[in-house]
Symmetry: C2
Subunit: 449 residues, 2 copies
């Protein structure tokens, strides 16, 4: 068999590479090969266990491929021969290609904790069979310990607490979300988690998972023992680079090496999504960011550049724009935090604001938005932003991301026209981002006096 563009992996990165390629190169034959019978929405996984109460409801329909005339094979690529440009499938079939895209994703990073293989201990695989098993186990569990207080751990805790589970998060850092946010935002998230009844063991390490055949408890480094019917390992993920390594492509612990056009070290092989290494937008260092939104941005770029380089379509560096919801609080972050800015040696100023997300504040459901923006001290260029507030923060953070990625300065931003409405936004007198920009400008101005 033969195809023009072979894409390995059926997650968001694979799908968007395929649809973009179809758009840009409509005459090419495109095939996606994936192992899973069905694709789950990765960011929806934490909500399978409470809100959705179903794996099937967290599904990306195959029609996004098939209705666009893209071939879909549920199979596994076991090896690639780059000299003949042929993929060998588990079914025995050989598939020739012109261009290859690796969208092989990530696999859970499981720490070597004693007891990690007990029944009831679950790493988070994006595989529907595994997730169905997990869901069964959640249903029969009362006490659940989540190891890891990053985004995924916190989102699991939020959703499980909402359906009445007794949830404990064990996090090795001093605070949950401690990698992505500055401390003041982590503290707000922790307050919400506590309101939901989640028990937080931060600054603590799990030394052992205890049990006979099934898990019974988790032991911490201070000797404490927490009863558990189930343990979820939300301890991060690592790029799945097995196939890339077997092909002799350049690979580091951060993933498959790619350039700005998402090309690997072989001219006809591209890599996108969790399996591809990321370069931070500002620090220019490699960083482990695994976000579907980054994966799809990369996929759009790869899909466009497969046969001809479209010079303007390139990855200028990974920002990592996250948003999450904990209880009634929405948190968002784009670009550098203050901690990273300081640690990496940036010369920066901070602007802050605290405004109401509706106007008047007496409207039902009005919430405070806390905004913290980071700028270069000279020039006032956007470096990063963090927000906490109501659900509109999920889109406001994209305004900050846009400002960062387009190289905007505080001076350019401060007079933007920003639309407002009583039920939808902060008042016209104090848009959240703009008020923080004004605060920063005072510091940038005073410097130049």
């Amino acid at each position: 068999m033969k195809t023009d563009i072979l894409i390995i992996g059926g997650g968001p990165a694979g799908i968007i590479t395929a649809t973009t390629a179809k758009n840009c190169y409509p005459d090419k034959d495109i095939t996606v090969v994936r192992k899973e019978s069905m694709v789950v929405i990765p960011c929806g996984i934490p909500y399978i266990f409470g809100t959705l109460n179903s794996v099937e409801k967290d599904r990306i329909p195959d029609e996004v491929l098939t209705k666009n005339g893209i071939n879909l094979k549920v199979d596994e690529v076991v090896s690639i021969d780059l000299s003949t440009k042929t993929a060998r499938l588990k079914s025995g079939e050989d598939l020739k290609f012109e261009k290859l895209v690796l969208a092989t994703g990530s696999k859970p990073s499981v720490p070597p904790i004693k007891g990690k293989d007990l029944d009831g201990v679950f790493p988070i695989y994006k595989d529907p069979v595994h997730l169905r098993e997990m869901l069964e186990w959640v249903r029969k569990s009362r006490k659940i310990v989540i190891i890891g207080g990053g985004f995924i751990g916190v989102e699991f805790a939020d959703d499980l607490a909402k359906v009445g589970k007794e949830v404990t998060i064990v996090e090795i850092l001093p605070h949950v979300l401690g990698v992505s946010f500055d401390e003041e935002f982590s503290l707000m998230a922790e307050e919400e988690l506590r309101k939901l009844g989640v028990i937080l063991k931060t600054g603590r390490k799990v030394t052992e998972i205890v049990g006979e055949s099934g898990v019974e408890a988790v032991k911490l480094d201070n000797g404490e023992k927490i009863d558990a019917d189930m343990v979820i390992l939300a301890t991060g993920a690592k790029p799945n680079t097995d196939l890339a390594e077997s092909m002799g492509l350049q690979v580091s612990k951060f993933g498959i090496e790619v350039d700005e056009y998402m090309r690997t070290s072989h001219p006809d092989v591209f890599a996108v999504g969790d399996c591809a290494a990321k370069t931070d937008f500002f620090t220019r260092k490699k960083k482990p960011v695994m976000l579907a939104s980054v994966a799809t941005a990369e996929a759009r770029i790869a899909g466009a550049n497969l046969y001809k380089i479209v010079a303007f379509r390139k990855m200028r560096g990974t920002l990592g724009i996250f948003a999450t919801k904990v209880g009634d609080l929405t948190l968002g972050v784009a670009g550098l935090t203050e901690r990273t800015a300081r640690e990496e040696g940036f010369d920066y100023v901070v602007g802050r604001s605290k405004v109401i997300d509706k106007h008047p504040g007496s409207l039902p459901g009005a919430k405070e938005i806390h905004t913290k923006l980071i700028f270069t001290r000279r020039g006032g260029f956007f470096l990063g932003g963090q927000l906490a507030g109501g659900i509109t923060v999920g889109e406001i953070v994209n305004l900050v991301g846009f400002a960062i990625e387009s190289g905007f300065t505080a001076a350019e931003y401060v007079d933007l026209q920003i639309g407002t409405h009583p039920f939808l936004t902060p008042p016209p007198t104090t848009p959240a981002t703009l008020k923080a920009v004004q605060d920063a400008l005072k510091k940038i101005y005073s410097l130049s006096r």
Copy 2:
């Protein structure tokens, strides 16, 4: 008495000029003179009559001025002598100033309909005394006719219908919101209004308001008669330029003439907000836009430029970014509609998308977002955007506004990293704006082949 900066008008434009000036010129003495005992949030006015059920709850607290060390006088400026830079107040006091800012706002534009002075017929003044009277009248009314189906009329209808009033909108254009949106979006708004039980008489003119001393009915140009206990005139507003004219400043029917720095024809007099004329960002024609968000943008610029021109702080042209909520539908618009683009002779292409505002779409409360973006055919520069969907549209439209104002092209936008989250945004595979940008790019690309 003497002050350095005298600001006439205490609405959003006056307030933000004052606070910005305080920020930029901390040593200057600033005085705001306004007539009203209390300032209402203008965009909150429609919600006084249902949701808030109170005028007092729709208040901008005076502390935004007083806590910043800005003087507030509740009084009226009756005349200005520019030769001596002195304002004469109604109380008899004379107030000398160095710089003067006119933020005198607008007044309702009342059409010369027979019966307009009957009891129970209300234009919309931003005066709390008037609004309290209106609220009393609403409370005792069952059948309310709103003349004018623009933003304000539609928002009044939405809020009054929600508290059980029998509401009819009479609109002279073929559709409600017909000035601000293209037809397909107006139709969506009309569908929501009908769901709320609002009766729509579009393409109809009121010929007479009928009644003895109080209003009893409204007569339309097709002979139809609609019973009414109350009539609200949502027929627009006109700039309040009385004082400016008396001072001999340059004034047109669009308002006080100003330059990009918000200076009037007199070097020490600035004008901001509804009383100042607006120049459209693209058509460069004067246009009647009365939005608090535009007023505050102008105020920030005026406040910064009062004593020294800060060259980067200028109004590049009025975009007019609106958002509104009708029933469960949020609508937003920024920049040109397709109709205006066509009528004004722009060479344009349209990009559209229809996506779900949460992911998976099976999450509770998920709504479809319709996006329509307008670009220059050559170059692919953003000209405008319209959205309809859930409440996050109120912030997404600001992304479009930002793209327009910063001179972004579709090609630059299409690979932006856009953060996503299941409860907060469309899926990473299909951000609303990005999907519409992709649609437009196909047309822009095919042109260049």
